[in-house]
Assembly symmetry: C2
Homo-oligomer: 190 residues x 2
């Protein structure tokens, strides 16, 4: 009972791009960055090439040509296969329907918040809260510059809205918890 053959979500991003047109790996990465998809996918040149190879091995994409400009390394252009197209949609469907447990680092740290002591805990949370606020602003700016100006359909940036929503929630929890610590509403056992 082998799980899904390729599980890295970067693969999902690549499949999605190749639905538009064939590309070579480096172009996939830069296109994703241009479109601000680097918040939703971890784009790392190391794993990029591994992932492309793995997709090709499973027949979800295939090389269609190789080009060469000057003395630069040869670039292999890949295209989506029919198999890949089907897997793409099925995979998304599954990812949406079934929540999977993630283990964010913040949660790990919060588990031992007590170890910092009241003062330092409140301090650290306050610093985080500030950074979260700035991150939210940055994201709002991106949304304003794209969807806000009507240049990009909202659906194409919907995951950015989703990320913003969850950042805002984290921000709210953080502020509220600081208040409870400082206000004494949260007991602090030894």
């Amino acid at each position: 009972m082998t799980r899904r053959k390729v599980s890295n979500t970067l693969a999902l991003a690549l499949l999605g791009l190749l639905r538009e047109r064939p590309m070579h790996p480096y172009e996939m990465a830069s296109t994703l960055r241009e479109r601000h998809k680097d918040g939703s996918f971890k784009i790392n040149s190391g794993s990029l090439y591994d992932t492309v190879e793995s997709l090709a091995r499973h027949g979800w994409i295939e090389p269609v040509s190789t080009e060469r400009a000057g003395k630069r390394p040869e670039r292999t252009v890949y295209a989506l296969t029919e198999l890949g197209e089907g897997e793409f949609v099925g995979w998304i469907d599954e990812l949406i329907r079934t929540p999977v447990a993630e283990h964010p680092k913040f949660l790990a740290a919060v588990s031992y918040l007590g170890a910092l002591g009241r003062e330092r805990a409140a301090d650290a949370l306050a610093e985080r809260a500030g950074r979260l606020r700035r991150q939210c602003e940055d994201i709002r700016a991106v949304l304003a510059a794209t969807v806000g100006s009507g240049r990009v359909p909202r659906l194409f940036m919907i995951e950015v809205e989703c990320a913003l929503h969850s950042l805002e929630a984290e921000s709210a929890w953080t502020e509220q918890t600081i208040a409870e610590i400082r206000g004494g509403g949260l007991e602090w056992p030894a």
Copy 2:
């Protein structure tokens, strides 16, 4: 500029446990599960032993004895070192202060929500919403049975509250997005 020597947050969990008393690896894992920390840390027997070894290699913990019960494999009991204690607190502080980009699978899928088409997207989101609601209820039940009954100090389960808060936020976003899709408030380009 060396990165942090051990980066897996499971290591953080282990350090935290060993602050109470020395334990052998299997006991660490089962204690964490008992305390419902398996929502905040990914506990996997494979990585457990790797992580313990890595912590020992860096001198954050050290073997203090080996015991044997019957013909079972020998168990090595580890204790926290002073170095480990310091790193523990410093690590938590850093994790709290500095948000790091996580890349939840859901966000990846939402990035290509368009590929499902209106109907199917709303459907899939609705299924997720249902599961999220059930998860929230489960968590509330755990909180009621522990903190609610006064048997466990609230600070010891604070990360569960945090996780609940973020699940609720995701839940809300999901419901709201379903409504926008079904109500036509969200444009659906080809």
